[in-house]
Symmetry: C2
Subunit: 100 residues, 2 copies
C-alpha cells in the first residue's frame, strides 16, 4: 500500500538504513546497528532498529531471510517505482523534449 511506503520513507533513520542496505546487502540486525553508529553517528537501541526494519519490511522495501539464528536483510527498491508512476517526472531538458 502507498501509505506504508511513504510512511517508511518519512523517517531519516530509516532512509539511512536503506542507504546502508544499498551499500551492503544481506546485513543482520546487529550489523545494521553498528554501522548506524559507526558511519552515521546514530545512537539507537537495537530494538529501535528492529522496529524500523519492521516498518521497512511492511513497505516492501526490505526483504528478510532466516538462516539459523541469523536474519539477513536485503534491499528491494521496486516499491519506489509507484512514486514515479504516480507523478511522472518532466523530461530532462525542457518541458517539451522527447527522449532520444
Amino acid at each position: 500500500m502507498a501509505e506504508d511506503l511513504f510512511k517508511a520513507l518519512a523517517d531519516p533513520t530509516r532512509r539511512v538504513i536503506l542507504d546502508e542496505l544499498a551499500d551492503k546487502s544481506g546485513q543482520t540486525l546487529f550489523e545494521i546497528c553498528s554501522r548506524l553508529a559507526m558511519r552515521h553517528q546514530i545512537a539507537i537501541s537495537r530494538q529501535g532498529v528492529s522496529q524500523h526494519l519492521a516498518v521497512l519490511e511492511a513497505a516492501g522495501l526490505v526483504e528478510t531471510r532466516r538462516e539459523g539464528r541469523y536474519k539477513f536483510h536485503d534491499l528491494n527498491t521496486a516499491p519506489l517505482r509507484q512514486i514515479a508512476e504516480r507523478w511522472p517526472l518532466p523530461g530532462p531538458s525542457g518541458p517539451e523534449e522527447s527522449t532520444p
Copy 2:
C-alpha cells in the same frame, strides 16, 4: 532538503493534493478545498489545506504565483528525482532476472 521532501509525501491528504494539481494545474486554495471534498470525500478546513500547501511548497513540490487576490498553485515533480537517484531502481534487464 530531503527531509522536507519525504515529510511532505508522508501525509495522504498532501498526496491527494499533488494528484489534483497533476490533474489540473494552477488551482487556487478554495478550488483545491472543494475538489478534495467533492472528488475524494476529504472534509478539511481551508486552513488545513493551506498548511498542507505550505509543506508542499517547502519541499519544492508546489510552486505558487500571485495574481491580484488569487494565488495559483502549480505542481513541480522535479524534487522526486532525488528519490530515484538515491536508491536506483533495478532495470528491466538488470543484474538479475528480468520480468516480462
